[in-house]
Symmetry: C2
Subunit: 128 residues, 2 copies
């Protein structure tokens, strides 16, 4: 996370104005750091900035917004679960296709029969 990004997050309200040293430089506390880590973690899993802004606003309002905030996290968690599922099926598909490429390469190496590339890009469904 770059300094530029931290400034940006502050500008858009994801980070509350943080403490300063005498010279005006920002001084991040451990709590600030933990919050920034959390933000980073949510962004890294594709939570939109908008959603994070909403969460940050509710957080400022205190415990009474617990339910709303929990809902946001639960929704995002469901989203993450879906992402994982999609990634896993893509991973499996790639295993399949990579194996196929290895076969093609072996055939080329031994100067074997040049058969039409079998099903590598045409018949393998993404989920298969």
């Amino acid at each position: 996370m770059t300094a530029h990004t931290l400034r940006y997050y502050e500008r858009v309200g994801l980070i509350q104005p943080v403490g300063r040293a005498r010279n005006g430089h920002r001084r991040y506390t451990q709590a600030d750091e933990a919050w920034i880590n959390f933000l980073h973690c949510m962004r890294a899993t594709s939570m939109p900035i908008r959603q994070m802004q909403l969460y940050a606003e509710l957080r400022e309002l205190g415990d009474s917004t617990s339910l709303e905030r929990r809902k946001i996290l639960e929704d995002h968690q469901a989203d993450i679960a879906a992402q994982i599922t999609e990634l896993q099926s893509a991973h499996a598909l790639l295993t399949h296709k990579i194996a196929n490429y290895k076969k093609i390469e072996a055939r080329i190496r031994i100067g074997g029969p040049r058969i039409e590339e079998p099903a590598v890009d045409s018949t393998l469904a993404p989920a298969s």
Copy 2:
């Protein structure tokens, strides 16, 4: 995948010019569809368009590019594995935080002691 997106993919060379009906309308074959599904699957797992363009170009060149193409897929598969790991740790973090919110809500419901929100946003490391 919208029609707009399909046109876009054709424009940027991800899809070769496809067959047409007499009226000029595009007619996608099953092979076209399979390729489009593959593209969709790669995009859905965050492969950049650039990489997909490179792969598509190599594909046009035939079997001799097998090794290069395989490398692209293997790299992307590694990327996917990393994504999964990150998502899983975020998922675990959220489980933790959600449980915490439930505690807070219970405390509020029974009118219990209003203790400072414990460690929800400040001490939980993202990986914890």
